[in-house]
Each structure stands twice: as C-alpha cells, then as structure tokens.
Amino acid sequence: MSESISTPDKPEPLPEVEDAKDLFSKFDPLIKQRQDLLDSGLEDPFGLVMERVLSPVTAVCNGRETILLGTYNYMGMTFDPEVIEAGKSALENYGSGTTGSRVLNGTYVGHKDVEDALCEFYGMDHAMVFSTGYQANLGIISTIAGKGDYIVLDIDSHASIWDGCAMGNAEVVPFKHNDLEAMEKRLKRIPEGAGKLVVLEGVYSMLGDIAPLKEMIAIAKSHGAMVLVDEAHSMGFIGPNGRGVAEDQGVLDDVDFVIGTFSKSVGTVGGFCVSNHPKFEIMRLVCRPYVFTASLPPSVVATAATSIRKLMDAGDKREHLWENSKRLHKGLRDLGFELGTEEPQSAIIAVIMPDLERGAGMWEALLKEGLYVNLARPPATPAGMTLLRCSLCAEHSEEQVGQILTMFEAAGKAVGII
C-alpha cells in the first residue's frame, strides 16, 4: 500500500505514447521533451496547484507555505476588503452569471459601471469591456485592421496580439523588438493610401523591459498610422496616475487605443479597450469576440470597478512596489544572476537561465525553498531563452524581499548557476 501513496513532489507518470499516427502525432517531440524533463525527477513546472491561498503574496503549494513571486497581482488587490465586499454584494443581488452576450441580455448596471470606472481612470471618452484581456486584443486588432490595411508590430508582441493579427485579414509586418529605425523603414514602404495600425506594448512581459513609446508613437503618427498600445503589465503601477508607460512618457493623448486587463493589477479577470475615437461605440456591434461570448459575471465587474477606483489613489503602493523592484533587481545582480534588463523598468524581473534543464532545476530548487516564480520557455520567450520570471507585488514586505534573495542564493548555488 505504501507505494500507492502519492508523494507531493512526484507527478503522476504520463501514459505511454502510442505509435499510431493521428492528428496528435505532431505533438510527439513536445511530449517527449516534457517526459524527459519529468523522468529526470523534476517537479512539473507547468502543473503546480495552489492548495490554499493565504494572501496576495503567499499560498500553500504541494503542502508547503510558499511566497508568490510569479503572479501578476502587482497591486495586491485580490484580498482588498472593499473589493471582496463589492463582489459578495453583486453575487447576492445579481446572481452568479449573466448567461448572455453584452449586446443581448449580458449588460447589467455593473458592466456599465466598470466601463465608467475605466473612463475615469484613463480620462478617456469610451471604454469597452471584454471577457478576457486576450479577447480584447483579439477583437480590437482583428476588427479595426481589415483587408488591404497594414499592421506594423513588434516581433516580441504577446500571443493575443499575434492571434488578433492572424484572425483578421490585414497584411502583418513585424519589426525587430523596440527598434525605431526598423519600425520607420516598414512604415515608409507601405503603399500609398493603405490603412496603418501600429501595435506596441508598454511593458514587454517576458524580460520586463519597456518600449520607447514617445519616439515610436511620434514616428507612427508622422506616417499617418493609428496606434494601439497594450498596457496590461503597467496599469496601476507605471505613470503618475498608474495609466501606464504612455502616460509616464507623456504621450497618452497620442494613443488611439489602450488595451488592458483586469487580471493583473486590478486583481480579477476581464479585458478592455479605452479610446477617444468619436466612432468607437460602433465596435460593440462589429467586434465578434465581444459579441459572440457571454459577458463577465456581475461579481467580477463589481470587484473590477471597486479595484480600479481604488487604484486611482494608490500612490503609496506604487512607490513601495518600485522600492521592491529596485531592491530585488540589485540584490539578484549582486548575487551574480544575469537579468533581462540593466535597470529595473517594471515590476517584472527576468532571471536568464543557461538552458531549460538548469532553468527547470532552479525553478524546482526555489519551490522547495518556498518560493514560486514563473518558468518561461520558448516559444513564449524571445531568442529561445529560458527565464525565471519574478513579478513583484506591492504587498511584498521588505523582509520578504530579503527572504527571496536568500532563497535565490541557496537555490542558485545548489544548481550551480552562481
């Protein structure tokens, strides 16, 4: 019997791969790579279960109390008492779900209220809420850039941006990451009269680096392009009012569409687009990922609206989060780790691993020390890198950042990376 007791550190073995050819055969190399990794005795980096969540920054994983350094809960809003109360009240008064599209029976007062909260937060005229951030990019990009139009985008763009491009009919033209000259050359060559959309991100989530939006947006505008900026990883934290990198660089007024999410600083789930375009409201009728899906549950939009309004006045939290980011960045560099950016540019600090094997080893060693970070690997990462991505929270204490550095030192030495 004792053999049948599952030990928390060992995942269930995967079933034997069948030899018969079918539609799944194309995944065989990936199945083998994953099996080899698990056979080496490592904990499954992509199968972690949070058994109990104790706070925005701590949880019990595999029976161990763990500091969370790999969530997007940047502002620690998930357990805010006012946010929780708003959700409970909406759940009781409006039920568990809307069971309908935003354009049919799925728009409640809460959906209008969270869109009002977004207009207040960004100081913009229009806001449109989607069921996820992924769908916001998918919907807006595929709808506004049509046949014969050109989308010019950074090669390191998020999957939701690429999928928005793939879903539409526009010509897709990527340029080298954050390269002003490469971007301008492509804009110059677009045929006369074609519609142009430039898609950028404020913070690039893999390495945690920011874009030179001021310069890029100036170039885009001089070539008559509309500009969409995904500020998913900067909302609530970067910029004087937490509106993102474009606000921080003083160019928010030149951005035609800001895409964002509720699943990071806001602390729930959902996506949005805000804009000052006078015709923006027509998007509600023509954007298929908005129309053909159920709207967010009333409790979700209530928690989002409460959280967004609290983030408008979160200057102290923003300051503490910057302190945390700077301290962790410097500490990791002093320990001898290679980092994704020279200076901390966001709340994401990426530690570059020599390869997937040692990256997975380091990830597991950290987990055993009681620290959760994100293991990121190709194809999600640029240039085939394996990264341990650390994302800080305004609720991490100074003491916890110290503990995190001690854990990194122990794990890094055990795995032989430092």
């Binding site: 050109y150 090669i155 491009c165 010509e171 897709v172 033209v173 990527p174 340029f175 080298k176 490469a182 050359k185 492509r186 060559r189 677009i190 194809p379 640029p382 240039a383 085939g384």
Partner: protein, 80 residues
Amino acid sequence: MDREDTKARIDTLIEPFNKKGVAITDDTTFAGDLEWDSLTVMDFVAAIEDEFDIIISMNQQAEIETYGQLIDAVTKLRGE
C-alpha cells in the same frame, strides 16, 4: 524585373544566414533544410526588404517555403 539579378543579390544576402553551409538550390526549404527559427527568418527578411526597398508581409511569407519561391516573390514585388 530580372529574376537573375534578384537571385544574384539574394545569393549574397543569404550567405551569413546559411550557418550550416547548406548547398542552396531553388528547392531548398527554409524550415526543413535550413532549420531557421523565427528570429533568423525575421532578420533575413529584413535584409531582403532593405536591399530591394520592399515589404514582404507575414501573409506573403506564409506562401514562401522554398528558395525558388522567395526569388520569384521578390522579383514580382520589385516589379510592382
């Protein structure tokens, strides 16, 4: 535009990208024979775009699997 001239210029451009030293013919495939990853493809496409002052969108790239198809596509784009 002249296909021979296009081919000669692309023959030169591809040299630094052909790290495996594959003997390139019109039938050589980028994904299979040259085993290029997406970043190498981007850099190579950028080099061609700069050389001929053209755009090869990803939609057009999706149709190009072999070296011969690339030369045909660039020859056509130069003529537009």
